[in-house]
Symmetry: C2
Subunit: 217 residues, 2 copies
DNA sequence: GATTGTGAAGAGCTTCACAGCT
DNA sequence: AGCTGTGAAGCTCTTCACAATC
C-alpha cells in the first residue's frame, strides 16, 4: 500500500478539490460516489477523476463507485491533512493580520504558532492570540515550536531576505504573498499567492475574450 | 500589427512576470535585454521567452536582444495595463479590508470604486476612503461607476449568489477569494485565489519531497 | 560572436473508448 | 445496466537545435 508513484502537479491540485467536495458529502451522509458525479462537482472529466484516483490502487467498485469514507481518508493522508502543520507568519501588516484571522486555516490542519515583524511599533502587540515577536527570535522559535511552514506577508523587497531566514531556521515550505520570485533550493517547497498577478490575469482574460471571436456585444 | 493569435494561459502568466521585471529594469535605465537574461530573472528558459514574445512579431534584434521600452509597452497593452480597470469589492471582512488597503493595486491600473457588504453593522463605515454600501445598491453603482471587475471576499456559502449578482450587474471578470468553485458562463472571466488550497498544495509538495528520493535528512 | 525566430522533437497532460467487473 | 481501470490517441506546452541576422 505504498502511495509513491509520481503524482503530477495538476493532479495534486485536483486532489484538493476532490477532498473538499468529499468533506461536505461526508457530512451529508452520502456513502459512495461515482467518478462522473465527483467530476461534475469539481469541473473535471470523469476519466480524469479515475486516472487521478488510480494512485490509490483499485479503490473504486465497478457498478457502484468509490466509498466516500475510504476516499476521504486516502486523500487526507496524501495531502498531508491527517496531521497538524505548524506555521509561522512573517509580516504582521494588513495581509498578515487577515491571514491570521482567516478561520479556515485552523479547521484544516494548519496551526499558527508564532508571528514575526520587523517594525518595533508592531512587535509585542497581540494578533489572533499571538504576541508578535522580533525577527531575531525567528530561528529559535521555529525550532522550539517545530514549525514546518512559513507564510511571508512582507513587502517585496524584504521577501527574499525573509525567505532565507525561514530556510535557515529549518522551515520546509513557504507560502509567499509577496509579488516576487523566491529562488530557493528545490528542497524548500514554495507556493506563491500573488494578488496583483491574479488581477492582471483577470484583466488579460477579459482582454482576450474581447479581442477574439465573440466581441462581447 | 494585430496581436490576436491565440495566447495560451501559461504564456499569459509568464507575460505578467516579464512585465514586472521589465518595469524595474526600465527604472534602472537599462535599454535592452536578451531572452536569456529575461529568462534567468523569471525562471523561464530562453527559448520559451522567445516563443512567448513571438506574438509581437519580430520585436527582437539578433545579436542585441529586445528593446525594453518597446517590450514593456507591448506587454502593458497585451495585459490590459494601459488602461484603468474599475473594480468593486464585495465583502468587507478581514480579507476584503486587507485587499482595499493593498497599495500595489492602485499602482498597477486597478481602481476600487465601491465596496459592498451584507452586514448592517458594516454598511456605512469607511474603508480605504470608500463608504461600504448595501448589496441592494450593487447593480446601480456598478453601472454608474463603469466597474468591470468584481472581487469576492465573502464566506463560501454566499459566494455563488454574489457572483450571480455581479454578473447580473454587468461585471466582466471576477477575482474570487472564496474557497468554492464559481460555475459561470464562459464570457465571465474568473480567477480564483484560494488560501486554503495554496496551503494544502504546500503541505502536499512537502509530503512528496519527503516520500520520494531524498528523504530530507 | 551574440542573439533571434522557428521547425521539429520531446514531454506531459487530457480525453477517448472499451474490456472487464459487480 | 452501471461503473471502474487503463491502453491508446490526441492535444498542449516545453525544449532543442540551427539557419538567419545584426
Amino acid at each position: 500500500m505504498i502511495i509513491s508513484e509520481r503524482i503530477s502537479k495538476p493532479t495534486g491540485r485536483r486532489m484538493s478539490l476532490y477532498l473538499r467536495v468529499l468533506h461536505s458529502l461526508l457530512e451529508l451522509g452520502q456513502v459512495s460516489i461515482s467518478s462522473k458525479e465527483l467530476g461534475s462537482q469539481t469541473g473535471v472529466k470523469d476519466a480524469q477523476v479515475r486516472k487521478d484516483l488510480a494512485c490509490f490502487g483499485s479503490l473504486g467498485r465497478p457498478g457502484v463507485g468509490y466509498r466516500i469514507l475510504d476516499l476521504h481518508e486516502q486523500l487526507r493522508r496524501l495531502l498531508g491533512m491527517d496531521q497538524t502543520w505548524n506555521a509561522v507568519l512573517v509580516g504582521a501588516g494588513n495581509i498578515g493580520r487577515a491571514l491570521m484571522a482567516y478561520p479556515r486555516f485552523r479547521n484544516e490542519g494548519f496551526d499558527f504558532v508564532a508571528a514575526f515583524d520587523q517594525d518595533k511599533k508592531t512587535i509585542g502587540k497581540q494578533i489572533a492570540g499571538l504576541k508578535i515577536q522580533p525577527m531575531s527570535e525567528l530561528k529559535k522559535t521555529v525550532k522550539e515550536k517545530r514549525a514546518k511552514l512559513g507564510l511571508i506577508a512582507v513587502p517585496p523587497d524584504a521577501a527574499v531576505h525573509v525567505a532565507h531566514s525561514l530556510m535557515d531556521a529549518g522551515i520546509r515550505g513557504i507560502l509567499n504573498f509577496a509579488p516576487i520570485r523566491l529562488d530557493l533550493p528545490a528542497e524548500i517547497a514554495v507556493v506563491n499567492v500573488d494578488f496583483t498577478d491574479a488581477l492582471e490575469q483577470l484583466a488579460f482574460e477579459i482582454r482576450l475574450s474581447t479581442i477574439d471571436g465573440k466581441t462581447t456585444k
